[in-house]
């Protein structure tokens, strides 16, 4: 293993700070470290010269006072070698923090990717990141009282105290007007609030405020459910990548239990994950077409999403979404043999349809002109912010968990990872359409190669106080779950990092320098769900006049921009 040399170098450089080293799985390495050099360690790993695609994945904060008498903060780095020569792995740098004064030197002062993670641990656990550049609230609402930290174990899962309303917005730069988008808006899968600071039509700076629909799912998982029941709530974290979340969670628990799930179960998971990816990408392509005023593409994309894809999922699993197929140790329902021909037939039909959609899309002048050179995210910014998934691949980052970490049956199938260097909205569209074609090929291969045998390995009691990561490549990027088991088959800490968490933090960077009419398309281009559309407010800073645009008006603005072309 080449990774050993890289680790030896790292251990040598920081030998004064490393207390303990533990292999959670052969590719997940946990270091128990002193908090002092945390930023340097994270920086060293993220910008490692050989593992050039490495990035900061998430920061896990947990209340381990019952276990170790201290809090714990653990940045996770995904060590990726872009050339593919070395084995990739995850590094978890776990630092214990004092129980009365949980301070730590902020990683975010060196890595922008950690900005949100550290605001999160401050909000939910009361940690104090020192020298953090922007310590406004991220998750807790404006009227949440100071000094109450919901993820601490002494806070009941249903307690919701009242507090004073505070102002948490960023100050607008000189001579700009503010255009708020949201809190309810068509371009976001949750209510979120973008404040665009504009000079004329040009966006100068952006403020983001979100987490209005924070549901406290992690807390429910930790308090009330057993490890086999968490699947169903994990599946409902997101309406689009539900199966990705439940598979990532399953993987984490299976890593802890130390079982290899049967090959057939791995194949079934792979096929369903790809079906989910196809439907998500087609949904996204449809909405992107709609936003630029190209409704033929929208109708066509959604038609082919419904007819072969969703209906196939319904017949394979019993539902169009929320498949309910996973369980610790495998899957719950088998594919019967005659399904093989059905899946292959549908894939053949879908391939023809997607190729047609591809041709329609790239031959549409309106779409190309609206999407080309808009919302450019340069490679370097993408890396700094730890952007993942198609958004990262459209900016030239060669990362894909399926290939890099060989999850499930992806190790047995051949597929390409499309990478574009342009970093604009068009590249994000093309990456996704290319991926749909790759997914079809993956499904065809997986159906062909699917081995016979069991679909489930029974797992008894989980060992208490063990931890591990589980991850899959969702449609929007890497989904990662961290599980620390407790006693009685409960979970002590369950941390979920969805891909949009990383991508959304980079959206302000993408918006800067473009027009207000491009904003819906740029925000949409990272693929948050289009769920709730309410209003857009335009505030004139000087007069304080507020003008509200409803969905139709706002979309009109976007569609009109297409007509101008």
């Amino acid at each position: 293993m080449v990774t050993k040399e890289c680790l030896a170098e790292f251990e040598d450089k920081f030998k004064g700070e490393i207390r303990e080293k533990k292999f959670l799985t052969p590719t997940q390495i946990l270091y128990l470290v002193d908090k002092k050099d945390l930023p340097d360690m994270a920086y060293y790993l993220q910008y490692h010269p050989e593992f050039d695609e490495s990035y900061y994945v998430m920061g896990i904060g947990s209340d381990e006072r019952q276990l170790a008498g201290k809090f714990a903060y653990a940045p996770v780095i995904n060590m990726l070698d872009g050339s593919g020569k070395r084995e990739n792995f995850y590094v978890i740098l776990k630092a214990r923090l004092d129980k009365d004064n949980p301070e730590f030197p902020s990683v975010a002062q060196k890595l922008p990717a950690a900005l949100w993670a550290e605001r999160e641990v401050r909000d939910l656990l009361g940690f104090k990141p020192l020298d953090h550049p922007d310590l406004r609230r991220l998750i807790t609402p404006e009227d949440w009282p100071e000094g109450v930290y919901p993820l601490r174990k002494d806070h009941a899962y249903n307690a919701s105290p009242a507090g004073e309303l505070q102002d948490g917005y960023k100050k607008a730069p000189e001579d700009t007007s503010t255009v708020p988008i949201g809190p309810y808006h068509m371009a976001l899968d949750e209510p979120a609030h973008f404040r665009l600071f504009v000079k004329g039509e040009e966006i100068v700076d952006v403020d983001y405020r979100g987490f209005y629909s924070h549901r406290g799912i992690e807390k429910i998982g930790e308090g009330r459910l057993t490890y086999n029941q968490i699947f169903y709530i994990a599946e409902r974290i997101c309406g689009i990548c539900g199966f990705q979340h439940s598979s990532a969670y399953a993987m984490a628990v299976e890593n802890i239990a130390g079982v290899e799930i049967p090959a057939r179960a791995q194949y079934i998971r792979t096929i369903l994950l790809e079906i989910e990816r196809i439907h998500s990408h087609l949904l996204w392509a449809g909405v992107a077409c709609h936003l630029v005023g190209f409704d033929t593409g929208f109708m066509y994309a959604w038609r082919i999403r419904e007819e072969p894809v969703m209906w196939l999922a319904e017949r394979l699993t019993g539902n169009r979404k929320t498949y309910g197929m996973n369980i610790v140790g495998g899957v719950r329902r088998d594919f019967l043999d005659y399904r093989k021909t059905e899946i292959l037939d549908k894939m053949k039909q879908l391939k023809k349809d997607v190729e047609k959609l591809y041709n329609i899309a790239v031959s549409s002048d309106i779409l190309i002109k609206r999407a080309k050179d808009v919302g450019v995210l340069p490679y370097k910014v993408a890396k700094d912010y730890g952007v993942v998934g198609p958004t990262a691949r459209a900016s030239g980052r060669n990362i894909d968990v399926r290939r890099d970490h060989k999850v499930f049956a992806y190790k047995d199938v051949d597929f390409d990872v499309p990478v574009y260097k342009d970093g604009d909205v068009l590249a994000r569209l093309l990456v996704r359409l290319d991926e749909v074609l790759q997914s079809i090929s993956i499904i065809e291969q997986a159906v062909d190669q699917m081995p016979e045998g069991d679909i489930f390995t029974p797992i008894g009691k989980l060992p208490p106080y063990q931890e591990a990561l589980g991850y899959t490549e969702a449609h929007r990027g890497e989904v990662i779950h961290y599980v620390l088991t407790g006693t009685n088959n409960k979970v002590y800490r369950w941390k979920v990092r969805a891909p949009t968490y990383n991508n959304l933090a980079a959206v302000p960077e993408m918006l800067k320098g473009y027009r207000v009419a491009d904003a819906p398309l740029i925000i949409a281009s990272i693929d948050p769900c289009y769920a709730c559309t309410e209003r857009v407010q335009i505030v004139d800073v000087k007069t304080g006049k507020v003008k509200a645009l409803n969905e139709a008006e706002f979309n009109d603005l976007s569609i009109k921009a297409s007509e101008e072309l």
Binding site: Y232, I233, G318, N319, R332
Partner: protein, 202 residues
């Protein structure tokens, strides 16, 4: 015409979506014309009251608390209550059910002005303790089922025929007496408190 019986798998293969039967892709006048879900669909759960034995396995499996067990020890009743408005259609109850009473149906049109319309309650009678006359924690059907599926040797070896007729406390006392008679407990068995009187299902 006589009915041709086809196997379950064949019925799955031959099922065709109503939209495709009439040759229209995707868009049908759904609320105006009836539609149909595929045989694999997970819809509203339904308990067959003729088959349910009231064991409560589904209640333990349910992650969403859509299924609950309600005890009325005074009147000797145990009810399994299914509330489809809370149900998330995961199908764990169907897997856990030992008798196949619990089934997810193909029903999905559940709109109602009153959610309680959807609730299903299956009431079971509890058996009475042969010794003290109190109600036990077993339903009549549960005891019957247990004797059906347990091999006779096991029933005889553990004297289950007697024990199953007793309530929890009396059963404890009996066990203690037997153990004492075998010399595995020293002292007066009746002075020993019943060890697990509080545990078990609530």
């Amino acid at each position: 015409m006589e009915d041709v019986k086809i196997s379950y798998t064949e019925s799955l293969i031959s099922w065709k979506r109503p939209d495709l039967r009439v040759g229209v892709p995707v868009t049908v006048k759904y609320p105006l014309v009836p539609t149909e879900k595929p045989p694999e669909y997970r819809g509203k759960p339904h308990i067959d009251p003729n088959v349910c034995i009231g064991c409560g396995a589904c209640v333990r499996a349910c992650p969403a608390d859509a299924l609950t067990a309600e005890w009325d020890l005074e009147n000797g009743l145990k009810s399994i209550v299914s509330n489809p408005a809370r149900c998330i259609r995961c199908g764990r109850c169907e897997e856990a059910c030992p008798t196949g009473a619990m089934k997810l149906t193909l029903e999905f049109e559940l709109a109602t002005p009153n959610k309680e319309d959807l609730v299903e309650v299956v009431e079971h009678h509890l058996t009475k303790c042969k010794k003290c006359g109190d109600y036990t924690e077993f339903t009549e059907r549960q005891v019957e089922k247990a004797f059906q599926i347990l091999p006779k040797e096991i029933v005889d070896a553990n004297a289950l025929g007697e024990k199953m007729q007793l309530c929890r406390e009396c059963r404890m006392e009996e066990s203690v007496k037997i153990l004492a008679a075998q010399g595995r407990i020293i002292g007066d068995p009746l002075l020993l408190p019943p060890q697990h009187a509080k545990g078990g299902e609530k």
